[in-house]
């Protein structure tokens, strides 16, 4: 799919005057992990939702390589995957039923669907939980099921919206390791998080946004060139006042 190029992307929710994204411009290089940072209400999830095709009405341009992202999405509907911040699966269904359902709605069927379910479950290490109802899983297992669903159609670009929220340190370490291995396989990963140490550990490129504006973007090593660390830079750029 190549590089994702965002240029002057603006958005406001219908019926509300407030601009949620204001001329957001940055480049997400192909085949790496791009960290999208910002305090609560900065516009991260909105931007991820626009990239995932959930929200319409954004102005500006989003291009994947040489073509508009929307055209690419039409051409290859499952080339871009999303692992949302919410547990976006059916709690009353088992893990296997959830995987079967989300695989089928992405056009997978027969032996290919079976193979992909097995591979995604193996990758997320949820094989032993396949027969369990999703709503009864621990927080860590739910996050892993969420990730497995996002990987079913083997997307080339994966949008991960705060995938480690509410999990124990073991599950977090496992998820980070998994994400690193996904990038190693040539995928482009857009990763949002509040945890600076996570971003520093796994991201090659970052952008910090606040109030819908890009405060800084570029290679991680260039952004924190003065050696102060990402946390300090983040606090410096977004100020220290408490957010809603």
């Amino acid at each position: 799919m190549g590089t994702l190029n965002l240029e002057g992307v603006s958005f406001h929710y219908p019926g509300r005057g407030e601009t949620v994204l204001d001329k957001v411009t940055f480049v997400i290089p192909a085949g790496g992990i791009f960290g999208l940072l910002g305090p609560n209400g900065a516009g991260k999830t909105t931007l991820i939702s626009i990239l995932a095709g959930q929200l319409r009405g954004a102005t500006g341009s989003i291009r994947a390589g040489d073509e508009p992202l929307e055209a690419l999405r039409r051409r290859r509907p499952h080339g871009l995957g999303l692992v949302p911040q919410d547990y976006a699966f059916y709690p009353m269904l088992t893990c296997a039923e959830n995987l079967r359902f989300f695989g089928a709605v992405q056009g997978l069927g027969g032996a290919r669907l079976k193979d992909r379910i097995a591979a995604a479950a193996r990758f997320a290490r949820i094989e032993s939980a396949l027969a369990r109802r999703a709503g009864r899983l621990s927080g860590g297992l739910k996050r892993r099921l969420n990730l497995a669903i996002g990987l079913l159609a083997e997307p080339e670009i994966l949008l991960l919206d705060e995938p480690t929220v509410g999990v124990d340190p073991q599950s977090r370490a496992f998820l980070l390791e998994s994400i690193r291995s996904l990038a190693g396989a040539g995928r482009t990963i857009v990763y949002t998080s509040h945890y600076m140490e996570e971003v520093e550990a796994i991201c090659d490129q970052v952008a910090i946004i606040d109030h819908g504006r890009v405060l800084v973007s570029g290679a991680l090593s260039e952004v924190i060139r003065d050696g102060s660390g990402l946390q300090e830079l983040f606090m410096q750029l977004t100020h220290r006042s408490l957010r809603d």
Binding site: Y13, P14, T45, T46, S49, A52, G53, Q54, L55, R56, G57, R73, P77, H78, L82, P84, Q85, D86, Y87, A88, F89, Y90, P91, M92, L93, E97, R100, F101, F102, A104, V105, Q106, G107, G109, I149
Partner: protein, 397 residues
């Protein structure tokens, strides 16, 4: 098609694990069918089946006996006369008996007075229990006037020298009148009114599971995920139609079975099934589409489970109250009967009655079925329009 089948399969699994939702869909209408069929059985049988007690108070015991004998029958049963008028009023206030006819001392003399317009009319007083149905009070009133007329005519004829007993002028002997109900082998019974009525009510209650799961899907972000997977919103809605259509058909089969077995088991009448099963299936299908369409619109409009339950539940109850489900339309005043024509449940009931009660054909079903399908399409389009207006699906807002 694979995606649509997957959506149907998911909906089916989710529904099958919602025991409470299924109980509402199947047990509630079955319970209403049994209870209401039994409770309203007398109303649908007409006056003859409902017995009301009356007493005649007259100074002359022979006249009291004679009047009581003539007034008995057709749903009216004679009871012992109260000791005095105060006791009669007290008894009627308690409903035992429901009616007391008070005959004054000079009644017989007044009967014999000439019909010249100058004489005083014979005076009678009827004490009535306010809880007595107005139709029954009217029937008894007509019965008393009929007996009084017979007595007066026979007295007049005697005066003219013609021998005639008052029994000869009994209204029943005036002519042989047979009543023929058109379009049905039997008169509509309580079970024939209540099985389709409460079946329709139950079918429209799919609004609760449809909208509840939809709200959960939106709240959990599942809907947003499906949209990001490029599943068209119209397909998401269609994904709910198939399973609930099957649920509605199952409801219809089980509620008809309840009318055949459960109601008679509790002492009610047995539901007479129509000869045209194809027409019954057609009206069931059209009702189902309208019910599912309503469920989809409520689902899209509701932001919380509480909203979905209140909008869906209250909407159904109002439509049922207006549409002749809770109260048969024939007992409603004319203005309410006109108003009931706006209720989709009334259209559905018309369709079921055309098949079950009147043994109608396809032409009789056309109007209600066209209205129900048009409503279903309008509700589906409205659901898509509301979604399009909102445009925003995620919880990110």
């Amino acid at each position: 098609m694979r995606r649509l089948l997957a959506l149907w399969g998911k909906e089916w699994l989710a529904l099958s694990r919602d025991v409470l939702g299924l109980a509402v869909l199947f047990l509630m209408p079955a319970a209403f069918i049994v209870v209401m069929s039994l409770a309203l059985s007398e109303v649908f049988k007409g006056g003859a089946a409902r017995q009301a007690e009356f007493a005649v108070m007259a100074a002359d015991p022979k006249l009291a006996d004679r009047l009581a004998r003539k007034l008995s029958g057709d749903g009216f049963r004679s009871a012992p006369a109260p000791a005095d008028e105060a006791a009669a009023r007290d008894g009627v206030r308690r409903g035992t008996p429901s009616l007391v006819l008070v005959v004054p001392r000079d009644f017989e003399r007044a009967l014999n007075a000439p019909l010249d317009g100058k004489s005083t009319q014979p005076q009678l007083t009827l004490l009535a229990d306010p809880a007595l149905p107005p139709t029954q009070l009217l029937a008894f009133r007509q019965r008393v006037l009929g007996v009084a007329l017979a007595l007066r005519v026979s007295a007049m004829m005697r005066r003219a020298g013609i021998a005639a007993d008052a029994d000869a002028f009994d209204l029943k002997r005036a002519a042989a009148l047979s009543v023929e109900t058109i379009g049905s082998s039997a008169r509509p019974s309580s079970v024939q009114q209540n099985v389709p009525a409460w079946l329709i009510f139950g079918m429209f209650f799919v609004v609760i599971p449809i909208s509840s799961l939809f709200v959960v899907e939106r709240r959990e972000g599942t809907l947003a995920r499906l949209v990001s997977l490029r599943v068209p919103f119209s397909m998401l809605l269609l994904g709910k139609v198939g399973p609930y259509f099957v649920v509605n058909l199952a409801q219809a089969a089980l509620m008809l079975l309840a009318g055949r077995t459960l109601v008679p088991w509790f002492g009610g009448e047995t539901l007479a099934l129509p000869a045209r099963w194809d027409l019954l299936a057609a009206v069931t299908a059209c009702t189902s589409l309208a019910a599912i369409g309503w469920g989809l619109l409520v689902a899209v409009c509701s932001r919380t489970l509480e909203q979905a339950t209140v909008i869906g539940g209250v909407g159904n109850i109002l439509a049922a109250a207006v549409g002749g489900i809770m109260v048969p339309r024939f007992v409603m005043p004319e203005a309410m009967q006109k108003l009931s024509e706006v209720s989709p449940m009334a259209w559905a009931l018309d369709g079921f009655h055309a098949v079950i009660l009147r043994g109608g054909g396809a032409a009789d079903l056309a109007a209600p079925c066209v209205k129900l399908v048009a409503l279903a399409l309008a509700l589906f389009a409205a659901a898509l329009w509301v979604h399009h207006r909102r445009r925003v699906l995620t919880s990110a807002q």
